[in-house]
């Protein structure tokens, strides 16, 4: 079985290892490029949201590379994301590709267990053993990636040579990807602190802090958000995304963090009383939390035409006005230009830097 799944940020590093340990062969797509997105845009419905277009383009690349099974997280809820799998499968079948669609959802758990069993030559005992090993490896890699990215985000605004910082991140991610044994993964993770600390600093101590909220794909995938975390880092801003690939896997894949969900619900209740998808409730809650924690600004990214993302915007604006925090909404799609986004980011950064008041420079 040659498996492919939609691509998002650095999540494939952990997911590839997990699936490989389970006994599947993984086809991982090349990093998205302009050509990928154009391919997806050509096949997808015109007014569909941009994550659909990018993942569709990626799936074509995977099928061309020989994948025979496509895995999607699906489900029935209000946002279009739950329907990606079935619609993409139909489009790809009409394009003449042959493959099997494997949907991951809560009501299909027995079928998923059967799949894992089949990959282990029908033996339940080895399926369980491999399953546990796979979860361990996946978890270790995911935490290692998260630790590395967190160090990168913190170092970026204060580093003398941002290029070196980016290169170190890329090297470390490759090392994690290549590490097979748990000890090796742990060793890379352990080295992150020292290696980032060793980069020469530019002497900046005080830096504005910005919270990045919004739709998961736009927050996590640097290709779509024009590498917003690193770009803002280069401008001397410390970015704290509310979601990372690691948190996405834990939060949505295994439903961890119940406390945080309840906390966000309580915080956002005066503004937003019903979660409709697209991280709407989290965005409102995180904006209010960022204001409480003394952040200097909030950037809200969502795909153009995203149903929850657009309908939550007036609420975000109102919450930002009520709390006095600087707020920048960014709507992204396949037509967004890097220069346009950068200009807006630069304007936003100079706004929060010049803003009088006690908030800045804590």
């Amino acid at each position: 079985m040659k498996v492919a799944f939609p691509y998002m940020g650095t999540a494939p590093i952990a997911l590839n290892a997990l699936l490989r340990t389970l006994g599947a062969q993984v086809i991982s797509p090349p990093k998205p490029t302009r050509a990928t997105i154009e391919l997806g845009t050509r096949l997808a419905p015109e007014t569909m949201c941009v994550p659909f277009k990018v993942t569709l383009g990626n799936m074509v690349r995977c099928l061309e590379a020989g994948a025979d099974t496509l895995v999607y997280v699906t489900g029935s809820w209000s946002c279009r994301f739950g329907y990606y799998g079935r619609l993409q499968a139909q489009i790809l079948h009409d394009e003449g590709f042959e493959f099997r669609l494997l949907e991951l959802s809560h009501d299909r758990i027995p079928a998923i267990i059967n799949e894992v069993r089949a990959m282990n030559r029908g033996r339940m005992s080895s399926a369980v053993v491999n399953g546990l090993r796979a979860l361990r490896i996946g978890w270790l890699k995911s935490t290692a990636v998260d630790e590395t990215e967190a160090r990168f985000r913190r170092k970026m605004p204060a580093v003398r040579d941002p290029g070196a910082c980016r290169r170190l991140l890329a090297t470390m991610l490759e090392e994690i990807q290549g590490a097979e044994r748990p000890a090796a993964i742990k060793q890379v993770r352990g080295s992150a602190r020292g290696r980032f600390a060793a980069l020469p600093t530019n002497g900046r101590i005080r830096m504005p802090r910005v919270k990045l909220v919004g739709e998961s794909y736009c927050v996590v995938e640097p290709f779509i958000n024009f590498d917003i975390v690193a770009r803002l880092g280069e401008m001397g801003v410390l970015v704290d995304p509310f979601l990372t690939a690691h948190r996405w896997l834990g939060f949505h894949g295994f439903r961890l963090g119940k406390d945080e969900v309840l906390r966000m619900r309580a915080l956002s209740a005066p503004y937003w009383r019903y979660c409709v998808g697209g991280e709407d409730q989290n965005s409102v809650g995180q904006l209010l939390l960022a204001a409480q924690d003394g952040f200097d600004g909030v950037i809200h990214v969502h795909p153009f035409g995203c149903m929850p993302g657009t309908v939550v915007q007036p609420t975000m604006t109102k919450a930002a006005r009520d709390t006095g925090i600087a707020y920048l909404p960014l709507s992204l799609d396949e037509h967004s230009s890097e220069t346009g986004v950068l200009t807006r980011l630069e304007a936003f950064v100079s706004l929060i830097e010049k803003r009088p008041g006690e908030r800045h420079g804590k």
């Binding site: 007014t47 279009r80 709407d280 149903m307």
Partner: protein, 297 residues
């Protein structure tokens, strides 16, 4: 429930423009119109009835409203600074029965037997309205004269008569303040517009196929398109949707693929927004109908 009901006026250009000014640019036309209607009503009433219609059960599976429809009360509160009291029953049968949600939403008027009776009456009225909609061919049956049931002008332009199936959300298809009278334009171009209203059974069958997305409005569109293609045998399919309609992007794609790949029926999608011009609309409808006529010859 003892309330006097005040309705807003039919959608007009000023109402729509009011909504457009209040709303973020990216929202769809019907939501902008909705905000315009709220703006027009809010000074004339002391209570706004804004149900949050979350989901409904169709043949054993949950079907949801679109996120924008579910979030309308929150959106309204964010957009307006001052509002009358909002009565907001949350219609989510996964959590609450209908009776509970209405009783929770109306403190002071939540006498159980009262609410039950009101719900029973409302449901009877809804069933009756659905039946009349089907016979009159329009949800606006209460405003129509008996004699003016839609009859195509037929072949005024010469050549064979063509039948165009029209599929779209009824809030768009039957609000001429939003769609610039698209059904009349089809008639004026010399074709017969066919709009069908699927029965509850057809909608359930559509849900049972398992291939439909889990939105209840969209089930109706898919069922309508299926009937138009399979039993009404229309010559072409006109899909009317609003720009930035998220669910429509999915449904129209499914309908188009079914029409073109499996039935060989041409389709055209008309995307509506506040900038849609009448001349452009007419040109596109006329050229589509000319094409259908050529195919028929």
């Amino acid at each position: 429930m003892g309330w006097e009901v005040v309705l807003s006026e039919p959608t007009s250009r000023p109402v729509l423009e009011l909504g457009v000014r209040l709303s973020p640019a990216e929202l769809c036309l019907p939501v902008k119109a909705f905000l315009g209607h709220v703006a027009a009503l809010r000074d004339r009433v002391d209570t706004l009835f804004l149900p949050r219609i979350v989901c409904t059960c169709v043949s054993g599976d949950w079907f949801f409203g679109c996120p924008k429809a579910i979030a309308l009360p929150d959106l309204t509160r964010a957009v307006f600074d001052s509002l009358p009291l909002i009565v907001e029953p949350v219609l989510d049968r996964q959590i609450l029965t209908e009776e509970q949600s209405f009783r929770n939403a109306m403190p002071g008027r939540n006498n159980r037997s009262h609410v039950r009776k009101a719900l029973r009456l409302a449901k009877a009225a809804a069933t009756d309205a659905a039946l009349r909609t089907r016979t009159a061919g329009s949800p606006l049956h209460m405003f129509l004269d008996q004699g003016t049931k839609s009859e195509g002008r037929g072949t005024g332009h010469g050549g064979p008569a063509v039948r165009v199936g029209v599929v779209g959300h009824s809030y768009l298809l039957f609000d001429s303040g939003l769609n610039l009278g698209v059904l009349d334009k089809v008639k004026e171009a010399g074709a017969e517009p066919t709009v069908v209203f699927p029965t509850a059974v057809e909608v359930e069958l559509e849900a049972k196929r398992g291939s439909a997305p889990n939105w209840y409005y969209e089930l109706e569109l898919l069922a309508a398109a299926r009937r138009l293609l399979e039993s009404e045998l229309v010559d072409g399919l006109l899909l009317v949707a609003s720009f930035a309609c998220g669910t429509g992007a999915v449904t129209n794609e499914l309908i188009q693929r079914a029409a073109v790949h499996r039935h060989g029926v041409p389709t055209v999608t008309l995307l509506m927004d506040e900038h849609t011009g009448e001349a452009g609309l007419v040109t596109r409808i006329e050229s589509f109908i000319d094409l259908l006529r050529l195919r028929k010859r």
